[in-house]
Symmetry: C2
Subunit: 500 residues, 2 copies
């Protein structure tokens, strides 16, 4: 559905093939015109070309208003067409979803919704959009439906805004760590290391060939004595998708001091909830020569930085979320950006919960893990919307690598709780003492030989170190108010679905 | 191997647990002291604490020189100990690989290798390192050996420098695209979409349970009529690791205008070469309302930007590579940063190669793909070290989604060739015309139904668009001179090996 007008336009504008590669020119985007303090007033009288997709087209008696969005911001450019506009004859093709190129002059708008509009001298419909079949019409579609057209949903206000805020959070993450001297390390995605524990991991294999007519014959899977012969697999032993880059990250922190990972991680967990994905991105910083206090301070500073960053750089999108997705989200985030984070021990948190005399669904007792209802009570009620860090958890409910405290009962672990979401960040000081770590591996029935390289870090120049992990899509939920985590990532992977 | 002195130091320095989380304080790193123009001269007379790992320890009659590296830069801090230094009694523990904390005053150095050194008032050995077993001793170890201790190799000069330059290239990549208004999009890693073509892909599955004693019983794999029953797999059909995020990226470019992906991709290719990895990171920008000329201009500007970035921001590491890894690499990169990139058509390239009268191993003939020897001849010999873009390849040797040129024989594809490496970037304008694209799918024996969502982009508001892909580890090789791609990523995955 490409128009012949566009073909002619291209032919006229084509650059002749020369010897030198041309200069990379940035085009003016709607965000640059309308995104400033003056909402575009400085552009009045200037010529402008906009390329984008039609959101709506309203024909009035003498003029036609076409709202064009180029994805650079939530705002459309209101384009005003008259019968004198070159290309006005294509008016029947200017439907929702069509792509257009419009040239004109920026003018003050009399509308209440925008300061400026474009008086169009020329319009070209580039790619048409059949109004009877285009799935994303003007009226609001349900989020469930939009997941079935994940290839088109970024053309809606909500998903465009989520994509831009997600991008800003990712870039702010890199900026924060880079400005603080951290090195980005890519931890491996596929791992045949025995360190990760086999539960809820995806296998990665080349043994299942689907090439036979009708599917993969079980008989054709390489085997020995009735068992799968892993020696014939690509990596010559069972291999998995990683569940965390932490242990690998520790190796680089033990050489470069401070590092962070930012990459995908996986859980083959059969949970169909609004908080779980089979594939999600994680940020895992690791600080050398650091204890739990340094770790908490870093996590707090990081979270405040990225929250401030989107409040300052994504104003229009955040206003949209505040109006349409979660009323009050900007206040909630301002609280996080400005309030001092509170810390308390797990033991004190248990006392606080028991003392609250509130009825919880799950029991509250020293030695049991905190549930989401407990976490939300602490941050939302007890501390009135302030983020709270709970530290020094019982060692039995935490991972083997966390550093044992002097009381022999707790470990230097911390969870950062925020209103509405509960746990957003989990971290710990790592056990850097070889003897303690080996004892914990034994207690946890883990095979020390598998951890030879992890233990080497404690054999050669061991240092106190600490780190934390943050699920990036949880952060996107927290920052946008989006309920379902499947709407916080472009193409969600969940049980039964890995489409697109 | 943690010393009791360190325990006492920590106890004395411990922050009392209070209500508020402490401030995140950045520590001074060696790079900040020695990395400036004056190489640290402004620090003379100031107090400084360094935390890092001992590279060497040389005892002379009255003083002992300890070289301490904290990973922030290639340079060590030369630390000068005397018998008066507090902690001098631990001198026997100050071995290569040990971690230390040193406090002292910066002084001018009489050595020729550095402007400043640290007169140490106090040293604490934090973690010892047994000199008889520490695998990374002072003498140079082979790269092959270092791959077997990938958890320790970042403590060497070469791998520390590679890690820092790799980090700088990644950050420069984000900066370039963000400053140009591109949105980072995370394309999916696991895909059950039929679009990717089954060749050389890894399966992702939960059907192979290894939990049975002695391994995975073939009989226990869910099956139906002797064939693997995919309906019982996690995603209810065969799922794979992605080989490219391009098609997904196109969906977001068709909504947000310009996007880029930067994430891991996979090939289950059984090639044990110095140029192939089973897991590697790719950068794939996609530009809407763009043709091949825009694409070439963007690729050239991007490459020049990241090369300039490391030449300016990683001077010390680049000097190291120039001296020890590839003589002349800085000149080679300066050429790339400053020279105009040349473009020529595939047809002209064939004429050039035939006209050269040079004997090549592989045949040169219109219709055959260019081999590495041809590519290197063009960029290194014919154009004297200038990067060259070859465009408009025969459609038979290129992918189905590339835009057909008006000659009916070629497509708007481009390969960017650089000296020494050959092809570094490959891209194309995408076929945005529905009828042409469907015809190409038919010609290529691909199932149109599988591509329904990709074709939708051409049904609803189709726009001319173009993009390219760049293997990030190839870029690291190109920018550091490192021969083997296994040394350009922290934990390489290749046939038979996914350790650590």
């Amino acid at each position: 559905a490409l128009s012949s007008g566009w073909r002619r336009y291209c032919a006229a504008a084509a650059t002749p093939t020369g010897d030198a590669v041309g200069e990379f020119r940035r085009r003016i985007r709607v965000a640059e015109v309308k995104g400033g303090e003056d909402q575009g007033a400085a552009w009045v009288g200037k010529e402008l070309t906009v390329r984008g997709w039609v959101r709506t087209c309203r024909a009035q008696r003498t003029v036609t208003f076409v709202e064009v969005n180029d994805g650079s911001c939530l705002s459309n450019m209101q384009c005003v067409l008259t019968p004198e506009t070159e290309g006005y004859g294509q008016i029947d093709s200017i439907n929702t979803g069509a792509s257009v190129l419009v040239e004109g002059v920026v003018a003050s708008s009399q509308g209440v919704k925008q300061k400026v509009e474009l008086k169009v001298s020329k319009i070209i419909v580039i790619g048409e959009s059949d109004p009877t079949s285009f799935p994303i019409q003007k009226k609001r579609a349900s989020r469930e439906f939009l997941r079935t057209v994940a290839h088109l949903r970024p053309r809606t206000n909500t998903f465009g805004a989520v994509a831009r805020v997600r991008n800003a959070l990712a870039y702010a993450t890199h900026k924060f760590f880079q400005d603080s001297g951290f090195i980005w390390v890519s931890s491996p995605i596929i791992t045949a290391s025995d360190c990760e524990g086999a539960g809820e991991q995806f296998y990665v294999t080349t043994l299942l060939s689907n090439s036979a007519e009708g599917g993969c014959l079980v008989n054709s899977i390489p085997s020995k004595d009735g068992r799968v012969d892993w020696s014939q697999d690509f990596f010559c032993k069972p291999a998995f998708l990683t569940v965390s880059g932490q242990l690998n990250g520790e190796t680089y922190a033990s050489a470069l001091s401070d590092i962070y990972t930012f990459g995908p991680t996986f859980r083959a967990e059969n949970s169909n909830t609004s908080r779980h994905l089979a594939e999600f991105w994680m940020i895992e910083p690791e600080l050398a020569f650091a204890d739990l206090n340094d770790d908490m301070a870093c996590a707090s500073a990081y979270l405040q930085y990225v929250v401030k960053y989107i409040l300052e750089n994504c104003k229009e999108d955040m206003d949209f979320f505040d109006t349409w997705v979660e009323k009050g989200i900007i206040d909630r985030l301002n609280n996080v950006a400005e309030k001092n984070f509170v810390q308390m021990s797990y033991s004190d948190a248990i006392k606080l919960l028991i003392g609250s005399n509130k009825k919880f669904e799950f029991p509250v007792k020293w030695g049991l893990d905190l549930q989401s209802e407990h976490e939300r009570y602490i941050t939302e009620v007890a501390f009135g919307g302030s983020p709270v860090i709970i530290r020094d958890y019982p060692k039995e409910i935490k991972a083997f690598y966390m550093r044992q405290n002097d009381d022999g009962k707790t470990v230097a672990a911390m969870d950062l709780l925020v209103p509405r979401v509960g746990e957003l960040i989990g971290g710990s000081q790592r056990e850097e003492r070889l003897d303690y770590l080996e004892a914990r591996l034994d207690e946890s029935n883990l095979n020390k030989d598998s951890y030879w390289w992890y233990l080497d870090l404690r054999r050669y120049g061991s240092v106190p170190h600490a780190g934390f992990g943050l699920g990036f899509e949880r952060l996107v939920q927290f920052a946008t108010g989006i309920d379902n985590i499947r709407d916080a990532i472009p193409f969600p992977r969940v049980p039964g679905s890995a489409e697109f």
